[in-house]
Symmetry: C2
Subunit: 817 residues, 2 copies
């Protein structure tokens, strides 16, 4: 009986939910009612709240039961309806009640519908609207019922139907006070009971992240069950606003209140009569006060949330200092309130006709870090809670812990395979680069005899000035060491960092792009390429650009001559004695404008450095871990570095961690008898457990075809995410200068002149504004714009993004003309 399940998790279910259906209106309060177990009285609580709302003053109450099994003999909707009618008749003064019940979808196994199902009765000043969204006959878990009865229903469809109901709540509540309309959605079973597809309900409903009311368990063992259920909700990002449970005389409220202190109010309901003939009306009356209390808690939490969401933009503008942001240029209404994220989507607060929380595809992958889809995010969150609970943070030197060791192993077997022998952890791309530079310095100094023995601390510093060989338009981070390795730009002037001098020789690399369906190489000035004559520098397909055979081409010789010329010229004319270290973005220069460097150039450059004993650093912070369709872009340029830096996607993008990998030879240049010869660079959180745990999970997840359907079966490539035809069409569009599509990246440069071009340009702003209305969040690099999805994002979603982009380009073109 010991067995692992053979079926794969149905992990694609959520992603195909069209994002527009996942909008949650905030015009009136909506709550999810969860149970810490089955049979704890969720429906009684729903009915109690309904009574507290409807029978005290004229109002509207929506009761939604998305998943009902045992139907029609069990029908929670009908129960609520019946009880409310009975209770309304007892009340004095009576609040007239109109009540209805609709069943939207039933399984074929359900017999002819009970007339009650569609009943609607009288007009009252209070209105109860009950809906059952999906109903199955058998009284088992929905996933079993769905399987057995043939009413299978995808998660995306459940969510869409529920979203439709929310729209109706907003529509029918239009014109009413916020507090006059209340909607509760009652889940089935416990918090982690499966829905019809097998997805746990706490995962199923997560995209809406509706605030929660948890019905606890007052029985023996109920303290534990209630706390665990609460934790399962919290660990999926839900906010629980109240816990209520039936008293069983066990004083469960003591420990529960102690645990929930300052977090969540805990309310206790009187014991429920167990006699099945009891109509519970007396019980409801005696619980009235608690339900009123509960209703007030729900309302006040709702009002507090609305107020907070409205206040946040102003408060943020008052006290926050955003990076890379000219605060004076942030327009009114220009601050986006991000309420949460679910996979690739932000959930943002918007005020349209009414306030809503709406999904927005994070097409800049939050500064190129993000990878997880919704399923992976849940998995990573669990990992984060575990790592924090197990390790918190533990210091690293001369210590070892499982996450760090496992992470180092995965790195050396993966992106460092075949060359790296050591992993040096730090916090971000910039620190990883500073470390890489220090490593390269030492290696170069040792190789070139600048350090003869380990006790000779410093050579004559005046006569030896080490510099970096790097590329124009590269960006490696914002700390001074990383800045010094990049060419002068807007980021490096006196206004930004007076200490910057630019300690490098910066080569101007040839770039590659698609225009009019054809890939072209653009060779800058300074190259002698007359010799090419007949040789074509266009390619019909991207594969041609990356083909190994180009190594033998005439162009390789052109590149090689250029590099030699520049290097020897520099040596001849300068007071500087030595050059060292090559640091470059591999394949794509991100911040510099999403330029794709000719991979052949990189290949030749590495070869030229090798022959001169210049250590080679690859900056793969942006490009590593499938960003460009391969785990490491070293695969794309057919050579390996001495040192490489990784970050961003390494942890799935959810937590800061970076690593600098190095060869044995680099490591050995720091070995000696003195501590002073060691690499004396460190950060408090070197190899912190949470970061390493996230990296272990992400590295494995991204490359495993079982968890990432975009991975080819041999685990070496991402399948093509961007539709060829659409890419071609966009590359031929009159507004478009060039296109790059590779891995998870689709970038384009808008045709622009003068002030409209360059990093400071606002040219793309109206286009991106429109795309934001389409639910796509992009940020420009001047007149360059890009879409960045995650390694697990489905091609269908990528396709949708391209279609939206194309439409807006058409419009942009019309407006321009």
């Amino acid at each position: 009986m010991f067995r692992f399940p053979s079926v794969l998790l149905h992990r694609r279910k959520l992603s195909s939910a069209a994002s527009h259906s996942l909008t949650l209106p905030l015009s009136h309060p909506i709550y999810l009612i969860w149970g810490s177990n089955t049979g704890v009285g969720k429906t009684l609580v729903s009915a109690g709240i309904a009574a507290a709302s409807l029978l005290s003053s004229p109002s509207q109450f929506h009761y939604l039961k998305p998943l009902q099994t045992g139907f029609p003999s069990d029908s929670d909707s009908r129960f609520v309806l019946t009880k409310l009618r009975q209770l309304s008749l007892r009340r004095n003064p009576r609040v007239p009640l109109s009540a209805s019940h609709r069943v939207l979808n039933v399984s074929p196994a359900v017999p002819e519908l009970n007339p009650l199902a569609a009943a609607e009765e009288g007009a009252g000043s209070s209105e109860l609207l009950c809906k059952t969204l999906y109903a199955w006959e058998e009284a088992v878990s929905p996933h079993l019922a769905a399987e057995r009865e043939g009413l299978a229903v995808k998660d995306s469809v459940v969510l869409k139907t529920l979203g439709g109901c929310f729209e109706e709540v907003a529509a029918r509540g239009a014109g009413k006070e916020r507090s006059e309309v209340l909607c509760v959605v009652e889940t089935a079973g416990g918090v982690a009971s499966p829905g019809p597809s097998g997805t746990l309900q706490c995962d199923l409903y997560r995209p809406f992240r509706i605030p929660a009311l948890l019905v606890g368990d007052g029985r023996l063992g109920g303290i534990s069950g209630t706390i665990s259920a609460y934790e399962s909700l919290k660990f999926r990002g839900y906010d629980v606003v109240a816990i209520v449970f039936e008293d069983h005389g066990l004083l469960n409220e003591g420990p529960l209140m102690s645990y929930m202190r300052n977090k969540v109010p805990v309310l206790v309901l009187p014991s429920i009569p167990k006699d099945p003939s009891n109509d519970l009306l007396e019980w409801f009356e005696s619980s009235h006060c608690i339900f009123s209390n509960l209703k007030e808690i729900l309302l006040s939490a709702y009002f507090e949330r609305i107020k907070k969401l409205h206040d946040m933009p102003r408060e943020a503008r008052d006290i926050i200092w955003w990076p890379f942001t000219q605060h004076k240029l942030v327009p009114d209404g220009g601050v986006t309130v991000i309420d949460s994220r679910c996979g690739e989507n932000f959930s943002v607060f918007k005020v349209q006709k009414t306030e809503v929380i709406a999904p927005l595809f994070d097409a800049c992958a939050s500064w190129w870090t993000q990878g997880p889809d919704a399923t992976m995010q849940t998995e990573l969150a669990r990992e984060m809670g575990y790592a924090a609970a197990r390790f918190g943070h533990v210091m690293f030197p001369e210590n070892v812990h499982e996450p760090a060791l496992n992470c180092a192993e995965l790195l050396l077997q993966g992106v460092g395979k075949g060359w790296a022998s050591r992993a040096y952890f730090s916090d971000n791309g910039s620190t990883a680069i500073e470390i890489a530079l220090k490593m390269a310095f030492r290696k170069f100094s040792v190789d070139h005899g600048l350090i003869v023995d380990c006790h000779e601390d410093a050579p004559n510093e005046r006569s030896t000035e080490l510099m970096v060989l790097a590329l124009q338009r590269s960006y490696h981070g914002d700390t001074l060491g990383a800045m010094e390795a990049q060419a002068p730009s807007s980021y490096t002037g006196f206004l930004q960092q007076p200490w910057y001098t630019g300690r490098g020789l910066f080569l101007d690399p040839p770039s590659v792009f698609m225009h009019n369906k054809t890939w072209n190489i653009s060779i800058p000035e300074g190259y002698c390429w007359e010799s090419l004559k007949g040789e074509s520098i266009t390619f019909a397909s991207r594969d041609g650009i990356f083909h190994k055979s180009r190594d033998k081409s005439e162009l390789a010789t052109v590149y090689s001559s250029y590099i030699s010329k520049v290097l020897s010229g520099f040596r001849g004319t300068s007071r500087i004695d030595h050059l060292w270290g090559l640091s470059c973005y591999v394949v794509i220069q991100g911040a510099g404008g999403m330029h794709m460097i000719d991979p052949l150039f990189q290949h030749v450059l590495v070869r030229e450095c090798r022959s001169r004993k210049i250590p080679v650093i690859f900056d793969e912070v942006f490009t590593g871990f499938w960003r460009l369709g391969v785990e490491t872009t070293a695969e794309l340029i057919h050579c390996v570095p001495d040192i490489a830096c990784f970050g961003k996607l390494m942890t799935g993008g959810i937590i800061p961690l970076s690593v600098t990998l190095a060869t044995k030879a680099v490591f050995d240049s720091f070995m000696g008898d003195s501590k002073l010869k060691a690499l004396l660079h460190g950060h408090s959180y070197s190899a912190h457990a949470m970061g390493c745990a996230a990296a272990v999970k992400s590295i494995q997840w991204f490359k495993d075809p079982c968890s990432n359907p975009n991975i080819t079966s041999d685990g070496r490539l991402l399948r093509e995410l961007w539709d060829d035809t659409l890419v071609h069409r966009i590359s031929s569009h009159p507004t478009v200068q060039r296109v790059v599509a590779l891995g998870t990246l689709f970038a384009l440069e808008l045709k622009a002149e003068g002030d409209n071009a360059g990093y400071g340009s606002l040219y793309a702003r109206p286009l991106l504004q429109k795309l934001r209305e389409d639910g796509v969040y992009m940020r420009p690099l001047g007149n360059v714009i890009y879409l960045l999805c995650g390694p697990c994002t489905s091609p269908e979603i990528c396709n949708e993004l391209l279609v939206k982009l194309y439409r807006r380009l058409e419009e942009f073109n019309r407006c321009r003309n």
Copy 2:
């Protein structure tokens, strides 16, 4: 009935557990048996595993029941004993069984002990040893029984008793094969059911972090209950090695296996006969195969763990590159395997007589980051899981999310109160300093007319070279910009960073220390202090040093003259036009050797900078957030900065995040019509949600007297953690040069000469080695050693640390002589 509990959480319970009692032997497998609810059959599973062990081959089985209520009519120990005897009689060939049951502590309410309780029977080749540790009469939750019956028992005592039982397991198992002895500890109720003190059992047993077996729930709702219980265990850092549950015909294994895929094996037991007269022997026989399977899983997980723990040091040495570590000097056996941490203690793997996991007080607070005790760690872990699930990471510019906004508010109301108006988030102390420097540059440039209007990008860079005014022996981080702001040292030479030039004027500050029970000021050369004559520069108490009245003293004038002299001399002789920015550790220079700078000097220095319009930066990365007994050390020197950097303890030390706070005037110097005038510095994880959420929780937790008992009632000070008498004694010890005790820090410099002194010295190593045997983990700064506790650590624990230190100093002295 809606009420928050009035009682405070008993949150000190765990910390007083003497650490030596928390050692877990690994000589043989020990497992915790948890239930996902009450009544799911934990005891049957325990008995089943016992049978699979004892009745197949000669072996030893320890069954421990720490908490038993309903005693003696309910006794899980007795049940296991009885069943095993019965089963052993049925087996053919029979394995002779000797069995015993002891009850260690019973509540006064329990009647005369049943003779069975102490029974021991015959000598067999298999041995069953059952123990009930604490027993209460009433069949209710242990916390209620303890309250009602008068057998109250503290968490620390439960753990100590349990630790004693583990010692016995190791002792009685000595000489036996690893697989011949098995011990299970059966918990009471569900995973989060309260123990006798009210602490949830999953928290109570956490210091041992014993691997877990979870008994799931096969009933309706059991999928949810099992998953939630599993998550509660994971979120406390437990490893669950198997899940087993009774079949109720509901196919719960489907969704459970799907959820647990690649994580935990799920086993299904046949239905248990419900007839109370059934002796279950048939059921045990029919389940034999599953229990054997289960036993094998437990054994193989145990062997895998042992192997991993043994292999880790070698693997780490092979592939990891530690910061600040000369790998050649790491001795064999010098790698510490950290299995987990619980509050201030690491749990480390050690091989003594047998392998153990033993606690080790993290007295360097893991590079000065750590603050949480066990309770706070659990709280933070929950927060991390929630923040990861709700937000993952979301990019920051022009966006706002709750954790970032709340964190900024708390910072401005707390450490920035009265001066700061903006929060700029980054990743670590080093980046926070780089940002602070950029801010100070700009402010200085604007104030001194170097930038006339915002379009004038760069002044003549040759004529204007900006430098930092800083202190000797300061350390601000390892990225180049932060390095440039510190004086030359072993960290800055050509070997480490050839680009370093030291762009500062470095003042030599007076320091303060205790020697021979008296506080002294040490004034370096270069100060003209003849004028002091009669004025004393010793203090009987630390308070005198921090007293505001010193501002009017003659010494203040001496300091002021020194600063003026150095500044004017520098200006006169150098080609450099401008000085800017003061950057200094406030009060304590950590990495420089735990030097306490005379607070009066700092105060005067700030005043002198102000008068010259030099922006003042406080580097509070190490000193902020109660490290020195106040939330911000600005309080200690009676003045505020223009810019300040915080990190480390800000998040409780569990996750990287730093912040640079600034005044409105600093912020305004970046306002303009061009983006190019904005501060163009950022990191991918600026204000990442998990970091900000941890900071919000930690900032509040540390300063709230309800959660931190060390905080004085007005919330402004930590109470004194280091015992005065002991501090005095140590300061008079013949081995000790000087002592500093302030807030969470106790530091001392060992008297040393020649090579024994300084950062590279190994002089303190044998002393620290001995302290490690005492369970105290310290790292030296050359001949300076220190103890660093958390803001919530109890003075009793600090006292214990001082006592251990004193003893070892005595021994050190004897060996030296």
